[in-house]
């Protein structure tokens, strides 16, 4: 048992921190957000040069065979610098599921480019209701002549910056399916939603988009399993990013509390102010360890699937709680100043809140925890 970073995690965290301080700044965050593109070319080039898109991908596809625990170390530091990148989404819901999927020409051709980072793929997951993940009706067509996709996917992070979409859909004759659709295919329309997220969340409209069996990378139970596994990874990666964003927010608030003088002393000298920041830090520290515990569960085979499900549900519920606590306490500390766009706090607040929301409803995670703890959902007591 050792809850300190190993050498690789330390090195990766250090590299991410160095990149953040060398190439990034609150102004750069603002400038990127103003473009609406979500990806700063210079920054993404550095991210690729460091091998992060392929960090956890298998070596057979050119990746580094790294562990989720390694990518977590990177994402925390990026979060602490308010540096939003497509990494969690492109890795967890695109590159990894494709790597796990059976070989096929389209998938085999795409994977090395995802690993290199010269092609960006994200997953179109949520239906128009922003809750369900598959369309009510399968797309019409068949394996011989292909299918026509018509519908809407929403809150797709970075779709407007993506080259390829991994679409979670249902196809007549095949059932559940994961299909590769180029972002610029005929009939695909992408627009950035007006959300406060600080990174592009997009609505993707499909108007009779033609796909064939060549576009399909997985079907049926396999498609469900790949997606489910990918979502577990996403939960851990987003929780890591949330930890970083919250740590960045507390750093901003602590600096303010040390400098802002009222009633003859820095406001951080008042216990009421200090205590809130301490509670925020304690929530961050706890969640951070839960992230690593869940990452370890994904990386090793020690835990049973039920135990792994419990760790993933626990960290997502904790991350949501942490974000609410940190946002509330940091804004309380910063007063009116913290609400201004000129101040840096809101860069962290909006991103942290958006990540928390995209993680899913806290109530749903708590229900998953309850289930994993063995609380039986049936109203009648079962005789054992």
């Amino acid at each position: 048992m050792d809850l300190t970073y190993d050498d690789e995690q330390r090195a990766l965290a250090q590299a991410a921190r160095a990149m953040a301080s060398r190439e990034w700044s609150p102004q750069a965050v603002r400038d990127l957000e103003a473009t609406g593109t979500g990806v700063a070319p210079g920054l993404w080039k550095s991210v690729c040069a460091l091998g992060w898109p392929g960090l956890v991908l298998p070596a057979e596809h050119g990746g580094s065979d790294g562990r989720i625990a390694h990518l977590v170390a990177v994402l925390e530091e990026l979060g602490a610098g308010a540096m939003s990148t497509p990494l969690p989404y492109s890795v967890a819901l695109a590159a990894l599921p494709l790597a796990w999927a059976p070989p096929s020409p389209a998938r085999d051709a795409l994977l090395p480019h995802l690993v290199e980072g010269n092609c960006l793929a994200v997953c179109a997951l949520l239906e128009a209701d922003a809750d369900s993940t598959r369309p009510a009706d399968p797309a019409p067509g068949d394996a011989t002549s292909g299918w026509q996709l018509t519908g809407v996917k929403t809150f797709v992070p970075y779709a407007s910056a993506a080259d390829m979409l991994v679409v979670v859909t249902s196809l007549a004759g095949l059932g559940p399916a994961l299909a590769l659709v180029p972002a610029r295919a005929d009939g695909v329309r992408i627009r950035n939603l007006d959300a406060f997220a600080g990174e592009p969340l997009c609505e993707v409209t499909f108007s009779e988009v033609r796909i064939t069996v060549e576009n399909v990378v997985a079907t049926g139970a396999q498609a469900e399993a790949l997606l489910s596994r990918g979502r577990e990874v996403l939960a851990v990666l987003l929780s890591a990013q949330a930890v970083g964003l919250c740590a960045g927010a507390v750093r901003v608030a602590t600096r303010h509390a040390s400098e802002r003088v009222q009633f003859g002393r820095p406001i951080g000298a008042f216990q009421a102010v200090a205590n809130r920041l301490v509670d925020a830090q304690a929530a961050i520290d706890g969640c951070r360890l839960l992230v690593h515990r869940a990452a370890w569960s994904l990386d090793t085979v020690t835990d049973s699937p039920d135990e792994r499900a419990l760790h993933v549900a626990t960290v997502t519920a904790a991350a949501a709680g942490m974000t609410r606590t940190v946002v509330a306490h940091t804004h309380q500390t910063l007063g009116a100043l913290g609400l201004t766009l000129e101040h840096d706090l809101q860069l962290f607040t909006r991103r942290a809140k958006s990540v928390e929301i995209l993680l899913g409803r806290r109530a749903v995670h708590l229900e998953a925890v309850a289930s994993a703890l063995g609380l039986e959902p049936t109203r009648e007591a079962r005789r054992h």
Binding site: L289, E367, E376
Partner: protein
Amino acid sequence: MDFSESPADVEFRAQLLELLREQLPEWWSGLFAEDERIIPFTRSFCAELASRGWLTMSWPVEFGGSDSDLWTQRVLREEMWSNQEPRGPQYMNVNYIGPMIMRFGSPEQQARFLPPMSSGNVIWTQGFSEPDAGSDLAAVSTKALRQPDGSFVVNGSKIWSSYADAPADWCFLVARTDPDSARHRGLSILLVDMATPGLTVRPIESMIGPREFNEIFFDDVVVPADCLLGEQDQAWAMIMAGLALERAGVPWYALVEKLIPALVAHCNATVVAGETLASRPEVRTAIADLHCAAAAARLLSYRVVSEQQAGADATVESAIAIMTSALAYQQAAQVCFDVLGPVAMLGHDDPAAPLGGIARHHWMLSLASTVAGGTVDVQRNIVAQRGLGLPKAG
């Protein structure tokens, strides 16, 4: 980062559970009940642990211990506390008083005081707090005046001393030996025989039960010169150094993690107004939320062990661990009432009491968890000042 348990620790935990299954009597519900069997049982349990080499396993080999790994000590701590601490008052000997004597005592003091501790045969109480000196320990005013023959005459009183009425055999006393001193200067640690004339113990009734709180009155109590621990007037430095000996604190999270499966089983089996407690949304949410708090608290406590193992000081990490663990325990106590309703108020002698009447005990003990051994407010000050770098209050 590695979250695996060593096979040795897994085996040790299994052996401890087996021992507890064999040894814990069915009437055992912790230290603070009205039952004359409690203290004698804790003495025999400590002797049993001692015979297996488990009582002082954390001590250095030269003092009869086995220099056990911090992770292994953690296993012992968790299983003891989650079973309401059958080591009784003597856990303080093992965790703090013995180590202080090892660190600052003379060879004669070590030879005299440590063996009864390692054999599980002596009860100590701490004399630190006073009516005017709680969190502000430097306000101690109990006097210990040095006499020409080297002995000390002690006058004053201590309060909140747990287990003084067990009865305790010895008292680990902080007193002011320099009459002209103030605050943290001029304090000394004396080892006081509780049978000394002039010493009176008065139990304080509390919600938690007997033995939790006592007053100790010192009326011209003579303490021999060879019972001064370390250097005279140097208690503050020794106490500060001693804080590093007991970074872990009480593993309240372990009590919570033992409570949750019991709550789950009870909720699955209990039908109220036509439905199981387990099917109620608010019950599911409350228990799930509690699990998240306890899981985080446990890992934060393990972080302290990790940091110490790596040679770091872990002051701030310890403060966070102590705080989150105590708060998780308070949350657990509240969840019991939320989930179980009024029957949770019944004591363990009432057959209608759910979970053996443990809920109300957890609640009362949880009120102490955030004030005992350093309040969470003090812990927050430590994190604020030494962790976040915020300025001191005032």
